[in-house]
Symmetry: C2
Subunit: 360 residues, 2 copies
């Protein structure tokens, strides 16, 4: 995505206000508006445009399909000193933030905690939640299953899992937090769409045709939505990515009592809610190490990784979270570079919702 | 490895006795002998020969290098109702089993627990520990860092992580447990050694030469031991495998206060102990779901995965743990098919240790 430069940057508060105005006009309750806006804009700040305000397009689809619950009650269904199960009832951002808050609170008292959410939906960028735990000095983990299957099991022909992401964040001292935020597919579907729009082929191992064969034809790949699990092909150990996608489905879906979407889509195609599930965990290094020992050791590791001689001097060795942190620092200061597509999307949604256009 | 057939199978109890006799003759304390033998033979039963009694070859190296602590004191260094830190002091099997036992005990009371081990060493197959939690109806997670770096970070030239495995197991009802047990490298180094012995090339993306370039020459790959992280090459998202390897290093190494081996190998090449670290976690589905709900839903998922139409009818879709479970059922009944190399290794070690040869 071409950066239009600082002059064309959109101030963070204006972007938040515009997104919130659209969601409010849709009839979404204030808690939902606040949570959804906060997580979307946090993703845009970290340079993860695919999970930023561009996801309003998906939520608009949900709304049109009658599948956006406007005023859900977020309930704590079960609770213990170190675990909890929440019922989300609508979009996943607000219950996701509440669940991670609860996990952090429990972890502060006990050293470790797990909070699951059921009856939820798309929650945006998983890394945003994991980083909430890091703000309190804890390790944070966030996972979610997905309403729509896209990943095909190794040796199979049909998609059974969403892109089932894993986010893992840990606090460093001198360095920015380590933050891994990855789909368990080889690549995001977005990369295939972009290749298709550009009429370009894709590498073997990104996607399959409808018969379980690897394809390099981006049009075929875009039509079938048969993503490969990380690894890509059996010879490159795609069974590991498939195993990781299943692990996420078990932790985020099965543990919470959420739907396994590949089955639900067949059994209950008209279900009012998607019943997506999330998994949140917080873990206190202070339960294991002395004051600052963990942060100091993580700093030493991050420094050692940054110091690895690169194969190509123009491409230094990075650590998970580096590009997002660089985007965050730039965008917090200079505003968010909206792409032309996203700007048009917001303009249309504002017009349709009859709210003022604030980014003109 | 060619199966010599049922006639040539080695009974499990004889194999255990032979391994235990060798370890005892080396001077290892009874707790160490028992734990190490149990985990090695459990791996052989599950068909994971690379982590079975064949690892006695590595432990023999440790012994010769003066790096095998014969009678370590396994100590609980810190403890809370849901966390603990153990000091292992020698091989990782005995403290690993003790740590997972402790995690299970804490989880039974609280719903979730994490136990870390520092000052340890090679602990065998991670899946063996994860399955210990499943025996009590819990989800089990086991990870370890590794004394010797082998995985090169994406865009880098030098190995910084061991094969840093992740094991995740979960209890089903009708079906066998789900059990993912994977190195975060694309493939195990063993596959490269075998290709080199056979004089065969390896696929692009398994390994790199000493300058960070992918190599298909198995001799070059065997010489440099520069494994790729899962994904293989940047275009196939090897940064995800690199991120996972780092995550395991943080959880198993940094959290426990173990050494980051890529640094230690430079700073303390003569350190008496490797100070490897492990991470164990137990999680009770009963803290989130009603009686049997989790198992029933996991059964439905496993059934759905087994029912996915395969791309090739001769290669059905499997679920993580299927091949190991099939081996377990066969080998429990019929004994363990030892390869000629492993048989020769055991014979040599028995002779050198002056213990009777029991597998003649």
């Amino acid at each position: 995505m071409a950066d239009p430069g600082p002059a064309a940057r959109t101030p963070v508060d204006k972007l938040s206000a515009q997104a919130a105005a659209i969601l409010t006009a849709w009839g979404l309750a204030p808690t939902q508006v606040e949570g959804t806006t906060r997580v979307m804009v946090a993703a845009d700040l970290r340079g993860i445009e695919s999970h930023g305000v561009s996801t309003l397009s998906l939520y608009d689809d949900f709304r049109r399909w009658g599948r956006l619950t406007l005023n859900p009650e977020i309930r704590v269904v079960r609770e213990s000193p170190v675990t909890a199960l929440l019922d989300g009832g609508g979009l996943g951002h607000a219950p996701g933030l509440q669940a991670m808050d609860l996990a952090v609170e429990k972890c502060a008292r006990a050293g470790v905690s797990v909070v699951a959410v059921r009856n939820s939906n798309h929650f945006g960028a998983a890394g945003v939640y994991a980083l909430e735990a890091v703000r309190k000095g804890f390790i944070g983990i966030a996972m979610t299953n997905v309403w729509r299957p896209g990943i095909v099991p190794t040796h199979g022909t049909t998609p059974m899992f969403g892109t089932n992401p894993i986010a893992f964040a840990a606090p460093a001292g001198r360095n920015q937090p380590f933050c891994l935020d990855m789909a368990t597919s080889t690549v995001a579907f977005n990369k295939i769409k972009l290749a298709n729009w550009a009429g370009k082929p894709i590498p073997v191992g990104w996607a399959m045709d409808g018969e379980g064969k690897p394809t390099t034809d981006s049009a075929v790949a875009a039509k079938h939505i048969c993503l490969t699990p990380l690894g890509g092909v059996p010879a490159m150990s795609s069974h590991k990515g498939y195993g990781l996608a299943t692990m996420v489905e078990i932790l985020a879906g099965t543990l919470a009592g959420a739907s396994f979407s590949a089955i639900r889509n067949v059994r209950e195609p008209e279900a009012e809610r998607y019943n997506v599930g999330h998994f949140f965990m917080a873990l206190d290094p202070g339960a294991f190490r002395g004051e600052d020992d963990f942060k100091n050791d993580l700093d030493a590791m991050i420094d050692a990784l940054h110091a690895v001689p690169p194969a190509n001097p123009d491409q230094p060795v990075l650590v998970a979270g580096d590009p997002e942190q660089a985007a965050f620092e730039d965008r917090t200061r200079n505003g968010i570079p909206l792409s032309e597509e996203v700007r048009k999307l917001l303009e249309r949604l504002a017009r349709e919702a009859r709210v003022p256009w604030m980014l003109g």
